[in-house]
């Protein structure tokens, strides 16, 4: 009592504690400042809803977009009131390049690379230094790997059908064509005078011309998915190229019974009672053989290998992509399948399996590239005031070893060039060049025509181009998708021998 009154306890020690806590708190603020101003800044300053991006769009000419041969796909023009607006080369590239409209925002590459095109993007170091210059904006021209000629040919080949074509160079990942139909006139959306009328019509159109089917369309794959099953089977060691199933020939006539569901086939007329190996089964497109392989692989391993190909997540691409899936993933069986019936059906591409055309083109190019998956690329160079920056090839991962890839290639060659295979893939052969491929006819249930599919590559021994074609409700693969693929690959190889 007395001591408390007469001997004063100094507060110095506790005050220092308070000071330490507050200093730490301010340290956290500095850290948060660093997080937003440096770490997250590259993403935030490129966001299309950043006010600086919006403000720059009104005053600074956007960078141009050029194809692989220097054809200008997107350019600027002064409107009647003197404000800048975009003009585009043609309808063929609208789904890729998109539009930049003062009224309806951005789409396609115009959206994905808005910051670069509007001149706000840079790396953090240049972000810091650029501000000292008189003109802070550095619009960049984008050079694409796309070939405008090939793209136009792909759109023309699809004609009035809805569908998509994806072509890429399997050795570099460069996308050569990324066509979706129906398409539209992006210049009309970009022109303030016609924007409203044309955009509202596009939105009302039942054909969904604004949907880039090549990257965002999700389709039942049908038999082209057997290549994914083959990659998972050979990759996981569940099968070898010599694998046969003794129950397969017997089941051809009445179908294979899996837990009460009958997997059916249509080729027994020609293969009769032969037990098919991997290459023969691919050539004949044997549903029963692939269903048995799917069961042999097991759901978990199957989904894992598909994941290595890019399934289950958006693809690391320059445009947004839809997620391709082997299964809906909500089931209790391994890998998220509901049961063995779903697994067996998925193995030949007919269950809850949905894929994007770009994903299937990547499946073909993994086989073509000896088992290695490269990042698909559209933009190959940025050119601004500071000079040109090239974007090189990027290996994402090895999916399967070269030997497995070579076996699958052999099977895909048989599917195009073999006696039986030719019936399914007529027209996909590139004249004078060994061609590998697989067609598909994706049953949709109900009475509608199936989707027609083809994936493949050429030349088989030294692939230069891989392709995926889907034609919505186009009928059997052989009738529609295969000839489109053959024509387009022929055209590309003729121009790039």
């Amino acid at each position: 009592m007395q001591s408390g009154a007469s001997r004063r306890r100094p507060l110095g020690r506790t005050i220092i504690h308070v000071a330490l806590v507050l200093s730490l708190a301010f340290g956290v603020l500095a850290g948060a400042g660093g997080y937003w101003a440096v770490f997250r800044a590259p993403e935030l300053v490129r966001a299309p809803d950043d006010p600086a991006v919006i403000a720059a769009a009104r005053t600074v000419p956007r960078g141009r977009i050029l194809d692989r041969d220097g054809v200008v796909l997107a350019d600027n023009e002064r409107g009647p009131k003197g404000e800048l607006q975009r003009v585009y080369k043609g309808r063929a590239i609208s789904q890729v390049v998109g539009y930049a409209s003062s009224r309806y925002g951005r789409a396609g590459l115009e959206l994905a690379f808005d910051a670069e095109l509007s001149g706000l993007a840079s790396d953090p170091l240049n972000d810091a230094l650029r501000k000292f210059g008189a003109d802070p904006y550095d619009p960049q021209d984008l050079t694409l790997s796309l070939s405008y000629g090939l793209q136009k040919a792909a759109i023309a080949a699809l004609g009035d059908f809805r569908g998509a074509v994806v072509m890429l160079d399997p050795t570099t990942g460069e996308v050569l064509a990324l066509a979706s139909t129906p398409t539209y006139d992006a210049s009309k959306v970009a022109d303030p005078a016609t924007a409203r009328q044309s955009f509202e019509a596009l939105q009302a159109d039942k054909g969904e011309p604004l949907l880039p089917r090549a990257t965002l369309g999700r389709y039942v794959p049908g038999s082209v998915f057997k290549i994914v099953t083959a990659i998972a089977g050979l990759g996981s060691g569940a099968i070898t190229p010599a694998t046969t199933y003794k129950e397969q020939p017997g089941a051809e006539k009445n179908g294979l019974l899996v837990d009460g569901f009958r997997v059916r086939d249509g080729h027994h007329v020609t293969t009769r009672s032969k037990a098919l190996d991997f290459i023969e089964a691919t050539e004949a497109s044997c549903n029963i053989w692939f269903a048995l392989t799917g069961l042999q692989i097991g759901g978990k391993e199957f989904v894992d290998y598909a994941g290595r190909l890019g399934f289950g997540a958006p693809l690391p691409f320059d445009l947004p992509t839809a997620i391709s899936q082997v299964t809906g993933g909500s089931g209790s069986a391994p890998g998220g399948f509901k049961d063995d019936v779903e697994l067996a059906n998925a193995a030949y591409g007919q269950a809850e399996t949905f894929v994007t055309p770009l994903q299937m083109a990547l499946v073909a190019s993994v086989v073509a590239n000896g088992g290695e998956l490269l990042r698909p690329r559209l933009v190959t160079a940025f050119a601004g005031k500071a000079g040109k920056r090239e974007v090189g090839p990027e290996t994402l991962r090895r999916v399967i070893d070269a030997q497995a890839a070579s076996s699958i290639m052999e099977a895909m060659v048989a599917a195009v060039e073999g006696d039986l295979g030719r019936r399914f893939t007529a027209g996909s052969k590139v004249r004078g060049v060994t061609t590998a491929g697989k067609s598909g006819t994706a049953e949709l249930g109900g009475t509608g025509e199936p989707h027609s599919w083809f994936i493949g590559f050429a030349p088989a021994d030294a692939p230069k181009v891989a392709i995926a074609v889907v034609v919505e409700q186009g009928g059997r693969g052989a009738e529609i998708a295969s000839p489109i693929a053959g024509d387009l690959m022929t055209r590309y190889l003729a121009a790039n021998p």
Binding site: I15, S23, A25, L29, I54
Partner: protein, 481 residues
């Protein structure tokens, strides 16, 4: 109860002679440290103003030479007033305050002037000029308080009167408050409007300093064991609970989350500084978390703030708009900033961050001065805190020590709360950035804090009265020993 006669007896003659000396004549006393720092501030602000002018007008001249001259002139007068009065007070506080105020002036000059207008006779003042007016008044207030306050008796003796006044202010806000954006922050009486919580925070610190210094030894010495915790006797926790209730009351009545957070944080820090008892802080934090959960459960606007904090980009065009725009501004600033006057791109003629001049000046400064500039500004607040805590640690008695500590913390913690809100470290609450945000009540209240710190730091100020009277806690039953 024994009065400690020795201390008082020894000091009294000294004090008398000092007082006698002052009565004879006031001895001017040079303040070279302050002068040098003020020169640095003047040069920095001049460079800033020229930079702003070059950006906005293209000419290498100060953006608004007259207003800058008025401001620097006010600082010079404040300096000279202290020199002439012969004060031996802290020489760093005024330059730091001058620097923060100068930054504020440059920012308000460059924002759209129509954000705030005031009619003085026939002339209409814009944002920059109104802020200049408040800044000059703030400097004047800090100086007058720093020079004129020679005794703390008026603060020390009437602490319960002060507390009553504070609660009165709170009620005033409840009765006369006008709703702005869901918060009842400002009170308008005739032509004047102000935010009572700005003054309330100073009053609170004065009350706490009085209360804690009187009851300090009791709070330290007495024990109740509850499980592993060593607590003071439970009745002594009553003020803690009362404080907690007042903070919640502020949230409920004023809907002012920021003030509640500020008061409670400063309260806890002062309780710890006075007692050194971690257990009290732990109890306080538990109460705080429980109260926050309660508020979030009861009030939609509290929950909305928390939701935005957890995911600012969840609703970037709606509830999260302000904070998302703030984060974008920091990102555009990057490491070095875009330069004064170069930030905040107008979209459709509007500044992207609503309320940038009151709630988000740090975001604007973070954009224009960069991370480097923002950290420097935060460091200036830490300098104020350091000066205040130093004054507290060196104070002659507990009342002054706790008062100085509390005053320093009021500025430091408030700066932290709004900076953390701008950076999405804490949920956004609408407190001002001290000495930078636009607003008269905020500037004057913080100037009052600086002025009191100046007065407390003066070595020639009247010595504290001898410790004698114990707090009312000592008369509580069940004290044990």
């Amino acid at each position: 109860m024994t009065v400690a006669p020795d201390i008082g007896a020894r000091r009294a003659p000294l004090a008398q002679s000092a007082r006698a000396g002052r009565r004879r004549r006031i001895q001017p006393r040079a303040r070279w440290g302050e002068a040098r720092l003020l020169l640095l501030v003047a040069v920095t602000l001049l460079v800033g103003s020229i930079s702003l002018g070059a950006t906005l007008t293209g000419a290498f001249v100060p953006y608004d030479a007259r207003d800058l001259a008025i401001y620097l002139g006010a600082l010079l007068v404040a300096h000279l007033a202290q020199v002439l009065a012969g004060r031996r007070s802290d020489q760093i506080l005024l330059p730091v305050m001058g620097m923060l105020g100068g930054i504020s002036l440059l920012l308000m000059q460059r924002l759209p002037q129509g954000l705030v207008t005031m009619n003085l006779g026939a002339t209409e003042l814009g944002l920059g000029e109104v802020q200049l007016l408040w800044l000059v008044l703030a400097i004047a207030l800090a100086t007058v308080v720093g020079v004129a306050v020679r005794s703390d008796r008026w603060l020390r003796r009437y602490k319960y009167t002060w507390a009553a006044l504070g609660i009165g202010l709170l009620l005033l806000a409840f009765v006369l408050g006008t709703d702005i954006g869901g918060s009842r922050l400002s009170v308008r009486i005739g032509p004047f409007s102000g935010q009572p919580s700005e003054l309330l925070k100073v009053i609170l610190v004065v009350f706490l300093a009085g209360y804690l210094s009187e009851n300090r030894s009791l709070l330290i010495e007495q024990d109740t064991r509850v499980g592993p915790l060593r607590l003071p006797p439970l009745p002594y926790l009553a003020p803690m609970v009362a404080m907690w209730a007042i903070a919640l009351g502020i949230v409920v009545i004023q809907r002012d989350l920021g003030a509640a957070l500020l008061f409670f944080a400063v309260f806890l820090a002062l309780v710890y500084a006075a007692t050194g008892r971690v257990s009290l802080v732990v109890i306080g934090l538990v109460l705080f978390l429980a109260g926050s959960a309660l508020m979030a459960a009861l009030f939609g606007h509290v929950r909305a703030r928390i939701d935005v904090w957890l995911d600012p980009f969840g609703d970037p065009l709606g509830a999260g708009y302000q904070i998302v725009q703030s984060l974008h501004a920091f990102a555009r600033g990057g490491l070095l900033g875009v330069g004064l006057g170069n930030g905040l791109p107008l979209v459709g003629g509007r500044i992207p961050i609503p309320e940038v001049h009151t709630d988000f000046p740090l975001a604007a400064l973070g954009e224009e001065l960069g991370l480097v500039g923002m950290v420097a500004i935060l460091a200036l607040y830490l300098v104020i805190v350091q000066r205040g805590l130093r004054i507290g640690a060196a104070a002659a008695d507990d009342f002054r020590a706790i008062l100085a500590t509390g005053l320093a913390l009021v500025i430091g913690v408030q700066a932290f709360i709004i900076a953390a809100g701008n950076l999405s470290v804490l949920p956004l609450t609408g407190v001002t950035l001290p000495l930078i945000s636009y607003g008269g009540s905020s500037l004057l209240a913080n100037a009052l804090v600086v002025g009191l710190l100046l007065a407390l730091s003066d070595k020639g100020v009247e010595p504290p009265p001898p410790p004698g009277r114990r707090g009312w806690l000592s008369r509580l039953p069940g004290r044990g020993r």
